[in-house]
């Protein structure tokens, strides 16, 4: 069948610079570049190029560049180039369109319409270089009060808490969806930063048990890799009910990716597909969730906080309230920009709601029900920088999960082809030749640099607001103002318009 799809990108090879060394041929895992043995030059098949910049970055003579193919279609605001190309693809394959990473479509990004306050005159800004600035965060269930006996001794048994040096965690990415080296880089960075990373739904590789004190175990609908040793080694357990990139959809790790190591970790045969069902088949309602929470509590001897992760959907505030009442210690809300290794494109781009709205409405709802302070809320689904984090916490989150941001620090170029397993940066792949491109030591250093930089920026923001503890930012919506938002949006976010 003749393909109507023209290449999305064009490779520009500077003939004066290219010395036909062939490094690009080796580097491109999508097999764009080929030797022309007759002419002794290198050619490029641009139909395969996914714009990952691997060849551009590695080319020793800087001979390569990738440009957008500006091939003209007749202008049409309705039948956009994207719409037409997607129909070509489906007509040629008969398949559901697949994508990696989070929703890239042109929805409002509320983060960018919210601005942050600073102190002027009536109270002083605090200089974080001269004064203590506390970001320490505790996640877990909080009793309403303490009792102190006549001798000044504490009479309260505190439920298990995660102690973090900053309100940032690495979000769930399974060994399988990402490489061992990527997992190791995240684990090492989390341990050194005094924060946590989530192992995702694929269990924990034996060699990563060293970092299990900084690891959150995930129990998802497929229950891959779950065993008592794993649950007890980690510091918290997260039940994954849903994911922002694909609410209502399960997961699929193709059999080709299930090699020896993944087979051992996931506890499934080599080469078999790892299919996570859309629902947990033991959870068809909220009371079933409660049973699973208590099953996990019994299993872990009531020593670990239990988190429940859900995608941000229409009724998120009632769902969150139900989750608190079902006994969860931490609620994770994943917005519709949240990333993934693979999701049906239509689902990714159309299902779910923005995290900004979700976290604000959940915080308000739980506050109104008098149960907000009992639990911790983690917001996730595209925290792109420290300002997004400040805004998320001021809207009501206790901490944030980051994943795509962390992968970008490791070298991800957001080409959205994670599901192909050919990640040329050694992140979303199990191909040993590609995996070794990512050095875990260097990777963890890059992650530590990123989070350290964000921590320093967060301290600057806090100091500017005249705040010296992150506690005092939680739900502090006075510190935010909206720009270009309508009254309904402002009301849901619980913030005033700039100038008000």
């Amino acid at each position: 069948m003749l393909s109507f799809l023209q290449p999305e990108f064009l490779i520009q090879r500077d003939k004066d610079r290219c010395n036909s060394c062939g490094l690009c041929v080796k580097q491109c895992s999508f097999e764009v570049h080929q030797h022309d043995k007759v002419k002794g030059t290198v050619l490029s098949d641009e139909t395969k190029c996914i714009c990952c910049h691997r060849c551009v970055t590695m080319c020793p003579t800087r001979a390569l560049s990738v440009r957008k193919n500006t091939l003209a279609f007749r202008r049409n605001s309705n039948w956009t180039v994207k719409a037409v190309r997607e129909i070509y693809k489906q007509a040629e394959t008969g398949g559901i369109l697949l994508s990696g990473m989070g929703n890239p479509e042109d929805y409002p990004i509320y983060w960018d319409r919210i601005v942050i306050n600073a102190s002027q005159v009536t109270n002083p800004p605090i200089d974080p270089l001269r004064e203590p600035m506390e970001l320490k965060t505790f996640l877990g269930r909080k009793p309403e009060r303490v009792d102190i006996d006549a001798n000044g001794n504490l009479q309260v048994k505190l439920p298990p808490q995660l102690e973090l040096e900053a309100p940032i965690l690495f979000s769930a990415m399974s060994f399988g969806s990402i490489s061992f080296n990527a997992c190791k880089a995240l684990a090492m960075a989390a341990a050194q930063l005094g924060i946590y990373y989530n192992a995702g739904e694929g269990g924990l590789h034996k060699d990563l048990y060293n970092y299990s004190r900084n690891t959150i175990a995930q129990v998802a609908s497929g229950r891959f890799g779950i065993n008592i040793e794993y649950l007890n080694a980690c510091s918290a357990v997260e039940i994954k009910m849903g994911q922002g990139a694909k609410p209502g959809i399960g997961g699929h790790l193709p059999g080709e990716k299930v090699n020896e190591e993944i087979s051992k970790t996931r506890m499934i045969p080599v080469g078999s597909d790892a299919l996570s069902p859309a629902p947990h088949h033991d959870i068809y309602s909220i009371e079933d969730l409660k049973q699973l929470i208590y099953l996990l509590r019994e299993t872990t001897g009531y020593a670990k906080p239990i988190a429940v992760k859900v995608a941000a959907v229409n009724n998120i505030s009632s769902i969150a309230s139900g989750i608190v009442r079902a006994g969860a210690d931490i609620i994770v809300i994943d917005g519709f920009r949240g990333g993934t290794g693979a999701a049906p494109t239509r689902i990714r781009d159309n299902v779910g709601i923005p995290i900004e709205m979700a976290v604000a409405s959940v915080d308000t709802r739980l506050k109104n029900e008098g149960i907000r302070s009992q639990v911790s809320i983690i917001a996730s689904g595209s925290m792109r920088n420290s300002a997004d984090i400040i805004k998320a916490i001021a809207l009501g989150a206790d901490a944030v999960y980051i994943a795509t941001g962390a992968l970008i620090a490791l070298g991800c170029h957001v080409c959205q082809k994670c599901y192909t397993g050919k990640c040329s940066w050694g992140i979303a792949t199990q191909n040993p030749d590609l995996v070794k491109r990512l050095n875990p030591d260097i990777g963890s250093k890059r992650l530590i640099n990123l989070i350290t930089a964000w921590i320093n920026e967060i301290k600057e923001f806090l100091g500017g607001m005249g705040i010296n503890s992150i506690d005092s930012l939680r739900g502090n919506r006075d510190m935010l103002r909206g720009i270009g938002l309508n009254q309904k949006e402002l009301d849901i976010l619980g913030i005033k318009a700039a100038g008000e």
Binding site: S119, T122, N123, P124, I126, E131, P132, E134, K136, F138, K142, P143, E144, R145, V146, D147, I148, G152, N153, L154, V156, L158, Q161, K367, N368, G370, I371, R372, S373, M465, G466, I467, N468, S469, D471, S472, L473, R474, G475, N476, R477, D478, M479
Partner: protein, 376 residues
């Protein structure tokens, strides 16, 4: 123009407090003199006083002080009060004409006890019953505002410089064993008497200088626990927070102080294991009760007084003692004007509370020996 409660108004301020630890009464003129020294720290848009031990003859009655905008709101409120309380005495709070004090509302006081049957029905303890009634009036009756509700104590406040407000309320005619005062420098003109300070609930009164950068966090925490913050002021939030910690959660005062202005984690790490566990647990549970941003506060109750600075002391606060007297003020001059030669005078460190406890159950009787015009 929006009044306080409809809009949040940052202010700078002057505060002062005087206490006799033996419970002997001190005339009101001292506190007026002390606060008037700090005239420059206020701008004439709010001043007020709290006085303890002033109603010994009604010591078992809650003294409700009210502002009314109109006769109608007074009528509605009295109807409410009569339904919920037995009223022993009531009347206008005596005032004198002062040229600079204008637009005063109707100012009344009622000495009341909860109606026994009502109290039983409500299934609340007596204090909670009174609190609910006060909040009910403030929230539901338009133009009425209860600004004082403790036993044997009273708050007196209004729009004006504090010394003029003191003169207006004839405070020179009262004697109390604890006095606190407040001069306000709001950044716009509220023009509403209810917005002046001290803010009080039952016998707890607060004067405060500062601007809480954690206001919204503290407020949402309190709202979650059933408080309704109608005034949008820091002082209101501080009062409710102390009410929560001391009255509802029955925590010792020093623990409450270490929740409001907790030690830094770097210091907690250096403590012994019991102490470190205590402060860490308090922070985990009461993190949203931490008050951030600059503040110096003086809180007073029937049985004592407490002064506290924020964690990094972003507001001035000086304390002094002589004999049985404890003085606390924004500036040393405000102390020296009434006590020229204190035995000890010091600037408390950030988050280090100054606590004065009443040493006797008898209060409001006997008077301090007044030597010339000085308190001591």
């Amino acid at each position: 123009m929006q009044i306080e409660g409809e809009v949040r108004i940052p202010s700078g301020c002057a505060i002062s407090g005087i206490m006799n630890k033996k419970g002997k009464a001190v005339p009101g003129e001292y506190i007026i003199r002390s606060i008037s020294v700090m005239h420059e720290r206020s701008n004439g848009l709010g001043g007020g006083f709290a006085a303890y031990g002033i109603y010994p003859e009604y010591r078992d009655y809650y003294a409700l002080h009210l502002f009314f905008d109109s006769i109608a709101s007074k009528k509605d409120t009295e109807h409410f009060i009569n339904r919920h309380f037995d009223v022993s005495d009531a009347g206008k709070i005596p005032t004198r004409k002062v040229p600079s004090i204008k637009n005063a509302p109707l100012i009344w006081r009622y000495f009341v006890k909860p109606k026994a049957a009502r109290l039983d029905q409500s299934e609340l303890d007596e204090e909670e019953y009174v609190v609910q009634c006060v909040m009910s009036v403030n929230k539901k009756i338009k133009g009425a505002y209860v600004f004082s509700s403790g036993k044997n104590m009273g708050t007196f406040k209004g729009v004006g410089y504090p010394e003029d407000i003191g003169d207006f309320y004839r405070l020179d005619e009262y004697r109390g064993y604890i006095w606190t005062a407040h001069g306000r420098f709001p950044t716009n003109t509220p023009g509403w008497w209810g917005g002046a300070h001290p803010f009080s609930l039952l016998d707890c009164s607060i004067v405060h200088n500062g601007e809480l950068s954690s206001y919204q966090t503290n407020r949402r925490y309190l709202e979650e626990l059933g408080y309704s913050c109608t005034l949008q002021t820091d002082t209101e939030v501080i009062t409710y927070l102390l009410d929560l910690l001391l009255r509802k959660h029955r925590l010792p005062l020093d623990i409450a102080c270490s929740i409001i202005a907790p030690p830094f984690f770097k210091d907690i790490e250096r403590m012994g294991s019991n102490e470190s566990a205590l402060y860490k647990t308090l922070r985990i549970i009461y993190g949203k009760g931490l008050m951030n941003g600059p503040f110096s506060i003086i809180a007073a109750w029937n049985n004592g007084i407490m002064a506290l600075n924020d964690r990094i002391k972003l507001r001035s606060l000086v304390a002094a003692t002589k004999d049985d007297m404890l003085f606390i003020a924004s500036e040393e001059a405000a102390i020296r004007t009434v006590c020229p030669q204190p035995e000890h005078i010091w600037a408390p460190r950030g988050s280090e509370p100054v606590i004065g406890r009443l040493e006797t159950g008898e209060t409001g009787f006997g008077t301090v020996d007044v030597k010339e015009d000085k308190a001591c």
